[in-house]
Symmetry: C2
Subunit: 208 residues, 2 copies
């Protein structure tokens, strides 16, 4: 709960800072979407990701075959910086300096006038950034767990996020298969990964 409150305060501060940046109106805000790092290589958390382009959300998703439904399911919202999104529309893949933000947010079932299903409610329970910076990271991409306030250390390459994204990501180690506006673009540009095509072929064979 304390953690959730920190997230929330940090986000309000970040939103106001982002607003100030945009208000400059001199185009400089455009550059603030590139990843920035401290001198010792930690990632500064993106300030205004809630104004970036939303790619999709899921509820209670798990990649574990044996996962049981959660009694307190969470939503995951994915945002990408606008320049990267526009480049993807043109090319079907991600340019250097792409940043994804994954925001995990708690849900409520009953509340206000809602009586069915789930909606997103107060607290953020986790955040992660996936950054493409080819001159900096082995394999081109890196993951960072962030708290919305402090610079974050890179998640070690030995962690499962790297191998799983690499083995199953539809485009350039990213899960474009879960982004319904982008999957058709990747199909048009023939940028789907061999790994993903293999997964899909296998799934199709299983069905028959």
């Amino acid at each position: 709960m304390v953690k959730a409150t920190i997230y929330r305060s940090a986000l309000i501060a970040m939103a106001l800072a982002a607003q100030a940046s945009v208000a400059m109106g001199d185009g400089s805000a455009e550059y603030s979407h590139a990843p920035s790092y401290t001198s010792d290589g930690r990632l500064n958390p993106p300030a205004d990701y809630r104004e970036w382009v939303f790619l999709s959300s899921g509820l209670d998703m798990s990649y574990n075959e044996k996962a049981m439904a959660s009694s307190q399911p969470v939503f995951d919202n994915v945002f990408v910086n606008p320049e990267a999104y526009r480049a993807f529309l043109k090319t079907g893949t991600w340019p250097d300096k792409t940043q994804f933000v994954l925001e995990v947010r708690s849900s409520s079932a009953k509340g206000s006038i809602n009586h069915r299903g789930h909606f997103q409610s107060g607290a953020i329970t986790g955040m992660e950034v996936h950054v493409k910076d080819t001159s900096r990271f082995q394999g081109g991409w890196a993951f960072f767990g962030i708290d919305g306030q402090s610079p974050a250390k890179q998640i070690p390459l030995t962690q499962a996020c790297y191998s799983c994204h690499s083995a199953h990501g539809a485009v350039d180690t990213t899960f474009v298969q879960f982004y319904p506006t982008l999957l058709p673009i990747a199909q048009q540009h023939v940028t789907l990964s061999t790994a993903y095509m293999k997964d899909e072929a296998q799934a199709a064979n299983t069905v028959h």
Copy 2:
């Protein structure tokens, strides 16, 4: 299915048009977020709403007390034009010319490497726009059901969306109670509606 295909083609065309508009780089794109109408008062569907600010999503939500869980639940994604979002951060309420887009999208449970919960998949199954234009609409706001392509007629004032938003909307007839980044801003600015405060007080009394 035909309808879904039309939605998808329309959206790709809209995304590319929006991209062209942004690429002009002369600031004119900023103005394209204001509502525009045909000479006979139909609303032109917003071209680039997927690049607007995402407010929240829900899964299988219903305001009907007797609704049963759906076997094919849908996600609803809500976007607002960026100028309105930034104004809300400053003031806790919506400026004139605010446009919300509600996008209803089908979900999948199993797919790719997902084994639990739901993610958003291919088709859009419905879209609605909520527009604030005080010199044009009785009560200040109007709803339009859109198909993403054609200009849309206003939904008649007798429809339930108007009375329900008016009776339960947390801020200025909008459901800010479901937008977790904005609810605290409205609380800070003391812009919550009397109707919403009454609903909340009643709910609190029911619990005790």
